[in-house]
Symmetry: C2
Subunit: 406 residues, 2 copies
C-alpha cells in the first residue's frame, strides 16, 4: 500500500515544532507493510493545501493522511479546505455540538463559539471518531485513493490511528515485510561493517541499512525471503555477540533493568558528569524500581567527598576525574545503597573545563560488585549533551554486560 503523508501547519514550517507525527505514522505504517512514498508539510493556507493534494493525487497513492488544522482557532482551515477540495457540502451536527458543550461544562468552561467548526460534517465521506479530543477526523474516497484527515495534536492523532486507521489498513490485507532490527553499541560504524563482512560480502538476498546515532549503530535487515533474512541475521548475530543489546527498538536501560530484574540483582548509580541522566533513563522504564535503588548526583568535589565518601587524598592526588575516583565512587555507592552493583561516572562534559592531561570529553566509568571493581576510560568530543548521552549509554552497557555474566 503506497502512502503519502501531508502535514499542515505553520509551526512545523517555522521550525517551532519537530514533525514527530510524520515519523510516528511512518514507523507504524511501515511496520504494517505500507510504503511511505512522500512526507510533505505545507502551511495553513487554502492554495498550498489544495496544490499539495492535487500534486499528490496525480501519482494515485492508495492512501493519503493529512494531519493538522482541525482545531477551533481561525488558523485551522483544513476541514473547510478539504470539503472544498473534495467538492462536498456539509452540515452542522447538533448532537455532536451538544456533546462537546457538555464536555467543556464538565471541566467548568463555557464552550467558545469558535469550536462550532468542529461540529461540521460532510454530506459525502465519513467522520472518524476522536475519543480523546474534540476534533474528529474525515475520510473520503477519491478514485483509487483514500484520503484521511486527522488532527495534529499527537495524543489525538495516535489514538485515532490505533482505533480507526490501523484497523482500516489491516482490513485491506497488506503483507508485513520481513524485517529484523539489531541494535548494537560500543563499535564504530566503519569497524562494525568490516567485522560483519564475512556475513554480508556473499550473496544474501537481503537489504541492510546502518543507522548510527549517539547510542550506537542500528542494523536493519529486510528481505522478501524469510529464510534469507533469518540466515543473514543469525550470521551477523553470531559475529557481533553481546555487542547487540536488543533486537527491537528498545532502550539499553530497559534491557539492563530487565536483566537485573530477571537475576534478582539491584543496583545504584553515582553520577558526576551525567548529572542524573543515567537515573533518568533507568526510571523511564516502568517497573525499574524493582532493581534500581537510586543514586547520588555528585556534581561538586565536596559532594564526591562528603556524600560519597571519596577520600580527599584520592581527589587531591588523582583528581575528581580519574580512574581512582571512579573506583571509589562505584564502591561507595554500592555499599551506601547496599546494592549488588554500583555504577559510577566521572568526566568532563564540556564545552569547557578540560586540561592538557584531561581534555574535554574524557570519562571514567566504574562498576563495582561485592569486592571487585572495574573502570573503563573513554574519550568523547566537545559537545556537552552528546558527551552526557554517550557516557550514559556506555555506563548502561557496562552494567548490562556484567549482568549477562552474572
Amino acid at each position: 500500500m503506497n502512502v503519502v503523508l501531508l502535514s499542515i501547519g505553520n509551526e512545523i514550517l517555522a521550525g517551532d515544532t519537530v514533525n514527530t507525527n510524520a515519523s510516528w505514522i511512518s514507523k507504524r505504517l511501515t511496520e504494517l507493510g505500507c510504503s511511505i512514498k512522500i512526507q510533505m508539510t505545507v502551511p495553513d493556507e487554502q492554495n498550498s493545501i489544495q496544490d499539495a493534494l492535487k500534486s499528490i493525487l496525480k501519482n494515485n497513492p492508495d492512501l493519503v493522511i493529512t494531519t493538522g488544522g482541525l482545531g477551533p482557532t481561525e488558523d485551522d482551515i483544513t476541514r473547510e479546505v478539504i470539503f472544498d477540495f473534495v467538492g462536498t457540502g456539509y452540515e452542522f451536527d447538533e448532537d455532536y455540538w451538544k456533546n462537546l458543550k457538555q464536555r467543556f461544562e464538565r471541566f467548568g468552561f463555557d464552550i467558545p463559539e469558535s469550536n462550532r467548526s468542529q461540529a461540521l460534517i460532510p454530506m459525502q465521506g465519513k467522520v472518524i471518531p476522536n475519543s480523546v479530543g474534540s476534533a474528529r477526523g474525515l475520510q473520503f474516497q477519491i478514485d483509487s485513493t483514500t484520503l484521511i484527515t486527522l488532527p495534529g495534536v499527537p495524543a489525538e492523532m495516535k489514538s485515532m490511528m490505533h482505533e480507526s486507521i490501523i484497523p482500516f489498513i489491516r482490513a485491506q490485507g497488506v503483507s508485513t515485510p520481513n524485517m529484523k532490527l539489531l541494535r548494537t553499541t560500543g563499535i564504530p560504524e566503519s569497524t562494525l561493517i568490516e567485522k560483519i563482512e564475512p556475513a554480508t560480502a556473499k550473496e544474501h538476498h537481503c537489504t541492510i541499512g546502518y543507522y548510527p546515532s549517539y547510542y550506537g549503530v542500528d542494523i536493519r535487515i529486510t528481505s522478501d525471503a524469510q529464510a534469507a533474512l533469518s540466515r543473514l541475521s543469525s550470521e551477523i548475530s553470531d559475529i557481533l555477540g553481546h555487542s547487540i543489546y536488543a533486537v527491537d527498538k528498545i532502550d539499553i536501560a530497559e534491557v539492563a533493568v530487565g536483566l537485573a530484574v530477571d537475576k534478582g540483582a539491584t543496583f545504584a548509580a553515582a553520577e558526576s558528569c551525567t548529572g542524573g541522566l543515567i537515573g533518568h533513563r533507568i526510571t523511564e522504564v516502568s517497573g525499574s524500581s524493582k532493581a534500581f535503588l537510586g543514586g547520588v548526583v555528585a556534581y561538586s568535589n565536596d559532594v564526591k567527598q562528603k556524600g560519597l565518601g571519596v577520600q580527599s587524598s584520592t581527589l587531591e592526588k588523582y583528581g575528581a576525574v580519574s580512574a581512582e575516583t571512579a573506583e571509589e565512587m562505584a564502591e561507595n555507592v554500592l555499599s551506601e545503597f547496599q546494592a549488588d552493583y554500583g555504577l559510577s561516572v566521572t568526566g568532563i562534559a564540556g564545552p569547557t573545563g578540560g586540561t592538557e592531561d584531561k581534555p574535554v570529553g574524557i570519562v571514567y566509568i566504574g562498576l563495582a560488585k561485592k569486592g571487585t571493581v572495574k573502570v573503563k576510560k573513554l574519550q568523547f568530543g566537545e559537545h556537552r549533551s552528546r558527551n552526557k548521552l554517550r557516557t550514559s549509554q556506555a555506563a548502561l552497557n557496562m552494567l548490562r554486560l556484567a549482568l549477562i555474566h552474572e
Copy 2:
C-alpha cells in the same frame, strides 16, 4: 526569500529517523526572515528525487535546500541524481581524494573505494566545503532558484549551514521579521488565552501563535510593525508577570541556573519519581556546577530513609508519596549538601502503582530554604514519561520563582 526543503532518505520515510534537520533549518531560516513554503521528504530513488525537484521548481522558490544521500554507500545517490537533473558533467577531484585518504589514514583506516564518489565535482555549479566530514555540498543556479545540496548528517549539515549557507542568505539582504517569543509555564493554554484577552481582544496589528507542550505554553507574536509588536508583548508580559520564564527559546533549567549564579545561591535536589531528570536538565546547562551541588535519587523507600534521613515514622504514617515526605526530603538534601536551596519531588510516575487515595500522576514538590519549606501538590496524568517531564518542569519553576524573590 521563499525556501523549499527537500529531505532525501529512506530512513526518514520508514519513520526510523525523526526529521530534525528540517525543523533545525526551518527555524534558523525563519529567524533570518525566510519563509519556508514546503518541507518534503522523498526516498533515495532517482525518479522520486527528480520528480520532487521538478514539481518544486515549478513555483520558482528563491532557494531549495536538499539534505541527505551524499554518503559513500550505494544508497547514496543524491550527488549523481542532481548532476543529471541539472545537466552538468563532472570530474574526479584528485586533490580532494588525496586529502580524504590522508584523513582516513590519520584515524588508522584504509579509505574504502566507495568513498571515491565523494570526490566528484560538477563542471558547472559550486562545491560547498565541509569542515567536519567527507561529504561536500553542491550549489547550482537554475533560473531564479538557487539549489543547494547538503549531507544529512546533522553535525555536518549544521556546520555547513553556519559556515556557508547562512552567510549566503544574509548576503541576499533578507529582512528579519519582528518576532517576540514569550515562554510561559504553569498556566493551561485556555486559561492563558482568557487571561491575556484584555491585551489581545483589541486591534493590535500582530499575529499571535500559541504552542502548548509539556513544558508550558509558548506565545509567539509577530508583526510588520515593530512598535505594535513591542506594545502588545509588553501588555501581555504585564499581565502574565513571572509566569513568563524566558523571552528566548531557552530551557527553564538554564533560567534557574542563571538566577542562582547571579544571586550566588547553591542548590541540591532529592528526586524520587523523576529519577534524575531534574539533575540531568540542570547539568545540560554549561557552567551549572557553579550553582548545582548535586543530589540524591531516592528511588526506594529504604534510600529515602537511609540516604536522605526521612524518618521511618513519616514514611509509615504518611507514605513515601506525601507532603510530609517531600518536606523532609527537601530539608535533608539542603542540610546534607549544605546548599541554600533544597528541591525535592516524590510522586507516582505510573503507569501503575496508584491507589484510590494517591492516583497515578500525583506529585509533591518540596522546596526548602534555611528553616522554611514549602510543598506543592500536583496531579498529572497516566503517562510515565510525560509525568516525569511535567514534574521536573514544575520543580524547576518553583526553584526559579524562589530565586527571583531571593
